[in-house]
């Protein structure tokens, strides 16, 4: 296995990691500030992808499609927050799990009702398509590089937002002490809606960005949702930094596990068994990673509260 291939796989892991971060950041923010477990976060991802595909289909513009994804997901977020979610902040986790599970059912079936059962078309814009040659002679798709760039840019923007702005102060206050926000004279319910919309928009953006290289279909958010949960649990729930570290870890584990585990097993098993066993273990790798993290650090890598 050549160095070039390994570098390329690391890039791939990084790319899926930063996209996962977009999902995980919203999820962890919503939990950190409002204490809410939002299973419907994957539905917002799906909403973003469908909005992007619909707008790209009409206008042909990828940028407009991304804007539409952000807007649609944020709007869906605001709608859901005001109608349902805000009644759940005081409820226990059990009620939150059930209510947002119900929202998944409604979102999925509703999307099917509107868009039908066939996958939609969303493609990479021509100005981002095709491979580029990186130093060292690595051929790598430009779009995936753009995804890495976009993901890191969003991470940076989030950091600035939270550490350097007035809203960020309020959000951090919300994570630590609810009474303090009230003392700061902040309208709590507005802040909560804003945070939820922000998380939703990030999920929608991820859905649109990833939708261009995947299949835009009903149910596309569920596998990502579970991975995003694994991510924030590994990172420590409520911590944006943890979400970032967790996302990169999960992305790398998944990508590198699926490539190298079969190779590893081939050293001491016959090829067919090695391939099958390696593939199964690669499927389980992130869950094993998460269990190990929790067994040794029950509040995640960067979790403050137990």
């Amino acid at each position: 296995m050549s160095t070039i291939l390994i570098i390329e796989q690391v890039l791939n892991g990084l790319q899926s990691g930063v996209m996962l971060f977009l999902m995980a950041a919203g999820l962890t923010l919503i939990f950190g500030v409002m204490g809410l477990i939002n299973l419907a976060h994957g539905s917002l991802y799906m909403v973003g992808a469908f909005a992007a595909a619909a707008v790209a289909g009409v206008t042909g513009s990828f940028l407009l499609a991304l804007l539409a994804a952000l807007a649609a997901a944020a709007a869906a977020g605001v709608l859901v927050e005001t109608l349902v979610i805000r009644r759940l902040y005081a409820a226990d986790h059990l009620d939150q799990v059930l209510a947002t599970f119900a929202l998944i059912l409604i979102f999925s079936e509703g999307t099917r009702l509107i868009f039908g059962s066939f996958p939609l078309y969303l493609d990479i814009p021509s100005w981002l398509s095709g491979p580029v040659t990186l130093p060292g002679g690595i051929q790598y798709p430009l779009y995936r590089l753009a995804l890495i760039g976009a993901g890191l840019a969003v991470a940076l923007a989030l950091w600035v937002l939270i550490e350097r702005t007035r809203i960020g102060i309020q959000i951090r206050a919300g994570e630590n002490d609810r009474e303090m926000i009230a003392a700061l004279g902040v309208d709590i319910s507005k802040l909560y809606t804003l945070v939820f919309a922000l998380g939703a928009a990030l999920a929608g953006l991820a859905g649109a960005l990833v939708g261009a290289i995947q299949s835009v279909q009903v149910g596309m958010g569920e596998p990502v949702l579970i991975l995003a949960f694994v991510t924030i649990v590994i990172g420590g729930i409520g911590s944006i930094k943890g979400a970032f570290v967790g996302a990169i870890l999960v992305g790398l584990t998944q990508t590198l596990g699926s490539v190298f585990l079969p190779v590893l097993f081939r050293l001491f098993l016959e090829p067919a068994t090695a391939m099958s066993l390696g593939a199964s273990l690669a499927n389980m790798a992130v869950y094993i990673l998460m269990s190990l993290v929790l067994i040794f650090r029950p509040a995640g890598l960067m979790g403050a509260r137990a």
């Binding site: 059990l94 059930l98 059912l105 389980m284 869950y287 269990s291 509040a299």
Partner: protein
């Protein structure tokens, strides 16, 4: 407000009467539906011990349901195909006998619950929810790629397994088996709640620190509850597999874990008959709404939302008042 004990009696009587009526009017499918409700109720009774009394929100009980199912699938697979099961230390022909299958299912899922519980109980809250989910996902992916037992395709069992003295292929007889299993589990549950252990467990859920200061270890209490819970859900898995004469990785899916939680909340958390009412409602809705429109998930979602937002404590809470009132 209705007395909870009256409601409980009416529910059980109803669950028994519907299939008997169906038998009279020759509607065997209704019996099948009632059997399904009884088995799902049994699985949820198991989960309710951990969730309702132990306060352990397990989002991975599909693991035990699936282990129960695969216990049945693997044993019956070897028996029906006449391929001995080589365990390394001993060779076993497999079996088509339900009692043996149940024993294996209960022991295997209890063992799994012990291991998962030991590790998961180091965490709490959301972390516990997620780590149990992670363990169930591991089983799911393992089952999918376990080629020997059909992987994603699962294991079809051509003829339902045997129970001494009964013809299990007759729907009403198989319903009887499942109904009795449910009654036994409910009885066990009722005794458990009134026992010293039940009192301690119930307190461990509400105020773990108090339980510690009287010299008990809440984590150990919860672990024991988790093991019992897993064992009962495992038994339900074995029965479910026999109802369908089929086992597949979907028994391990996170949707199933979610559905079991839904059943309990729908009926009422920590109520003896909550899982039964929830399962009956769920199966009825699935059948009735599913017959009306293919988009019935929207309606189901709306109903669940309604329960969470407006009927805290589930249907039993709505009918009989909040939990713990005597």
């Amino acid at each position: 407000m209705i007395r909870e004990s009256y409601l409980n009696a009416a529910l059980l009587a109803g669950l028994l009467a519907v299939p008997l009526y169906a038998l009279v009017v020759d509607e065997p499918f209704t019996i099948t539906l009632a059997t399904r409700a009884a088995i799902l109720a049994l699985a949820a009774v198991g989960l309710n011990i951990a969730l309702g009394w132990g306060g352990l929100v397990s989002f991975g009980h599909a693991a035990f349901f699936g282990i129960g199912g695969y216990s049945m699938g693997i044993l019956a697979f070897h028996a029906q195909n006449f391929v001995p099961l080589d365990l390394g230390i001993m060779v076993f022909d497999g079996t088509k006998s339900m009692p043996i299958i149940w024993l294996v299912a209960v022991l295997a899922s209890a063992l799994a619950a012990l291991l998962i519980g030991l590790l998961s109980l180091r965490t709490s809250g959301v972390y516990f929810i997620m780590i149990t989910l992670a363990f169930a996902q591991m089983f799911y992916y393992f089952a999918i790629s376990w080629a020997r037992y059909g992987g994603e395709d699962g294991i079809p069992i051509y003829v339902r397994n045997d129970f001494p003295g009964l013809n299990t292929l007759v729907p009403i007889q198989f319903f009887g088996i499942c109904f009795v299993a449910l009654l036994l589990a409910l009885w066990l549950n009722a005794r458990l709640v009134a026992s010293p252990f039940g009192l301690a467990l119930n307190a461990a859920r509400q105020v773990p620190v108090r339980v510690q200061t009287v010299g008990l270890d809440p984590t150990r209490l919860k672990l024991v509850a988790f093991v019992m819970s897993g064992a009962i859900t495992g038994l339900a898995g074995a029965l479910f597999a026999d109802l369908n004469r089929f086992v597949s990785p979907s028994m391990f899916s996170w949707h199933l874990s979610g559905e079991l939680i839904v059943l309990i909340i729908l009926g009422g958390v920590g109520r003896l008959m909550g899982p039964v009412l929830g399962a009956v409602m769920f199966v009825a809705l699935e059948h009735w709404l599913g017959g009306l429109t293919t988009h019935w998930h929207i309606a189901l979602g709306a109903i669940l939302l309604g329960v969470v937002l407006f009927a805290r404590g589930g249907l039993i809470g709505l009918l009989c008042g909040p939990r713990g009132q005597t």
